[in-house]
């Protein structure tokens, strides 16, 4: 599990979470305050703040903060600007809004170790609360008064929905399946991280090349993050995840481990086509994935994306934040939940 640090970095260990801690400290309070003060309707407050209790991994705001600080440092400023901090908040709000809508769709019972929001409130109200969070986030965005940033962040929202549509069903052939899966993964997960990185870079007023670097770092880490997520669905205990295992199979979704396993066990193809609906499909697919080297291949692909992300960050000026971005990429690979 030990990953070799590339380059000649100082020996002292940097903890990205500690490094982002100060910036992150009041962030969830501030998001909740935004959502609470923006409505006169009391019931909307607990629903819209349900997943913003600060108990999540907060991976999106952390990456956004670290990227912002690394780029600012690159330009010789050791600060986090107000607008960059707003982007970090918006990243978590968009994510939270999509979680609410996911829960309406998936009808899951638990998330993050507590009852899913749709268990506590009706679907219609949860759907509205999701729209509400997005609207409040867009208002915050407009106050930054930066056209490019607004365009960049809106891209996330359209990507999320298109990714969801891709997941709904597809007519692609076996050859196209993996490309389809990667595009879907980009849209559903990586786009948010990539475009938030891009937005904070735009706000730092760096050149286009640097903005592209920020975007590519986010894209690669985002893809790796989801690949590992899909992997953990097969190996982690449901206790560690805070949700049931093999959840994707049960939802009829074929993720990277299954798609890789297909190469050795073609019988999986039929199961993928019928979305694991027949009795015993989920169990059988689960076993075949473990028998194949689909899990190793998935991890390998995730590592490749992390290596790519790290290569990009090497070109940034050396700073604790730059190093933290590298460590974050490794943490994404080695996380257990």
């Amino acid at each position: 599990m030990q990953t070799q640090m590339p380059g000649s970095l100082p020996d002292y260990q940097i903890d990205p979470y500690r490094l982002a801690e100060d910036d992150l400290k009041d962030m969830f309070d501030d998001i909740r305050l935004e959502l609470i003060t923006n409505t006169t309707q009391e019931e909307l407050q607990p629903i819209s703040t349900y997943y913003l209790d600060g108990q999540g991994k907060a991976i999106r705001p952390i990456l956004t903060i670290l990227m912002a600080r690394a780029i600012n440092y690159h330009k010789g400023r050791n600060v986090l600007s107000h607008s960059q901090r707003q982007i970090a908040m918006i990243s978590e709000m968009i994510h939270s809004s999509s979680l609410l809508h996911d829960d309406v769709i998936d009808q899951s019972d638990i998330r993050r170790g507590k009852p899913s929001v749709n268990v506590v409130w009706s679907q219609k109200k949860v759907a509205m609360a999701g729209d509400y969070i997005l609207a409040v986030a867009c208002r915050m965005l407009s106050r930054l008064q930066n056209d490019e940033v607004t365009i960049t962040i809106s891209q996330i929202v359209t990507d999320l929905v298109q990714g969801e549509f891709m997941q709904l069903g597809s007519k692609e052939t076996e050859n196209e399946r993996f490309a389809h899966y990667l595009t879907k993964t980009y849209r559903k997960t990586a786009s948010l991280i990539a475009n938030c990185s891009k937005a904070v870079a735009i706000l730092a007023e760096v050149d286009d090349h640097m903005i592209e670097m920020a975007f590519q770092y986010g894209r690669n880490v985002g893809l790796a993050f989801q690949l590992v997520d899909d992997l953990l669905d097969f190996v982690a205990s449901s206790e560690a995840l805070g949700k049931p295992t093999a959840a994707d199979l049960k939802l009829g979704l074929a993720t990277a481990p299954v798609l890789f396993a297909c190469e050795r066990y073609p019988e999986l193809n039929a199961m993928i086509m019928r979305r694991f609906q027949e009795h015993g499909d989920v169990k059988r697919a689960f076993e075949l994935v473990h028998k194949s080297n689909g899990l190793e291949q998935t991890r390998f692909l995730a590592k490749k994306h992390c290596a790519e992300a790290n290569k990009i960050v090497q070109s940034f000026a050396k700073s604790p934040y730059q190093k933290a971005l590298i460590i974050m990429a490794d943490l994404v690979i080695n996380r257990m939940k």
């Binding site: 409505t39 009391e42 309406v104 219609k124 809106s154 969801e164």
Partner: protein
């Protein structure tokens, strides 16, 4: 209405064609077919959007008309749509407004699935409902996200602020008043001093539910045309009052025609006025706290008809129509202004 459409160039139902032609929607059409035969209200919503396009796109039409009535100051030549006298950005805004309205309509059409009841419901029906909800949620999200992107591409942050505030208000509308299991509104219990209760509640519900979107869109379109802050504020007032006048007249229509649809709109103005006049009607209305279907709506409407609600609602329509009309006088005489005033007159004509 079709006279009005000629003034702005082409039928407003054209507005929706662009999103109807996308891959995602083509996909949805396939899935919708699976729902045919089930009771999911998404089908009803879809039908009303597609077949009733003319009536449902009034918001877009009004925005284009007020854009034309107000004219525009120092527009860049490329921006101008010479034929219709409306800027491209204003047309885009009208489209965004319609997408937002329809998205909200679709999300409101989700079905609340009660997990306790679910056990007793046939599983195929339950699957249909779950699947219908999924499609409805995604369709609404699709429209909302596209409107977000289209709005961003106009590169005007004041506009983004206005329109996202309107989206926020639409969401808040679903939390006003009491609600039954399916989130249909029921008048809430008035406070001890009932004076002003009906007007306050009704206005809150409908400013959130319609007035804010039309008002802020009208405000935004005047901003795009380069008008002063004062004129923009007039635009907001116009849209808000027009939407309220229209809603009040829809409310009135449901009550007078004894339409069963009233069950989905029990906070209609005539009923609200009656609750303020005599709260004993709540005994009947509260039978719907579980499901509005349990209410004898004919009985409710009979009580309302005998009270002051109908008369007060007519007053309400007149008041809002007049306020909208006053704003129109700010603009100089034109076809578009005439069309708008015709719409206002038509609303007050019952």
């Amino acid at each position: 209405m079709s006279e009005a459409e000629k003034i702005v160039g082409y039928p407003t139902s054209f507005l929706s064609l662009r999103w109807l032609l996308s891959d995602e929607i083509a996909n949805v059409a396939l899935h919708l077919r699976k729902l045919v035969g089930s009771n999911h209200p998404l089908l009803k919503t879809a039908k009303s959007i597609i077949y009733n396009g003319r009536n449902t796109q009034v918001f877009g039409l009004i925005i284009l008309l007020i854009s034309k009535a107000a004219g525009h100051l120092n527009a860049k030549p490329v921006e101008e749509d010479k034929a219709a006298g409306v800027l491209h950005s204003q047309r885009a805004l009208a489209e965004v407004t319609e997408m937002i309205r329809i998205s909200n309509l679709i999300h409101r059409g989700l079905v609340n699935i009660n997990t306790n009841e679910a056990l007793s419901v046939e599983s195929s029906e339950l699957n249909n409902m779950t699947f219908g909800n999924k499609i409805a949620l995604l369709c609404g999200d699709y429209l909302l996200s596209n409107s977000c992107a289209e709005l961003a591409s106009l590169r005007n942050q004041d506009l983004v602020f206005l329109i996202s505030s309107a989206v926020k208000d639409l969401c808040q509308a679903e939390f006003v008043a009491c609600r039954d299991n399916q989130n249909f509104p029921i008048p809430s219990i008035p406070p001890e001093n009932r004076t002003g209760y009906a007007l306050k509640e009704w206005t809150l519900l409908n400013v959130y539910g319609a007035g804010s979107l039309l008002g802020k869109s009208c405000e935004a379109t005047l901003q795009l045309a380069g008008h002063s802050k004062e004129i923009q504020t007039e635009g907001y007032k116009f849209g808000k009052h027009l939407a309220l006048a229209w809603q009040a007249s829809l409310d009135l229509g449901l009550c007078i025609n004894k339409d069963k649809e009233i069950l989905h709109n029990l906070c209609a103005a005539p009923i609200m006025f009656h609750v303020e006049h005599d709260p004993s009607i709540l005994t009947e209305l509260d039978k719907g706290l579980e499901s509005v279907e349990n209410i004898d709506y004919l009985k409710v409407l009979e009580i309302v008809a005998a009270g002051p609600g109908i008369g007060l609602t007519k007053e309400l329509i007149k008041e809002h129509s007049q306020k909208a009309m006053e704003v129109l006088n700010v603009f100089k005489e034109s076809d578009a202004r005439k069309a708008l005033s015709n719409i206002i007159v038509a609303i007050g004509d019952f």
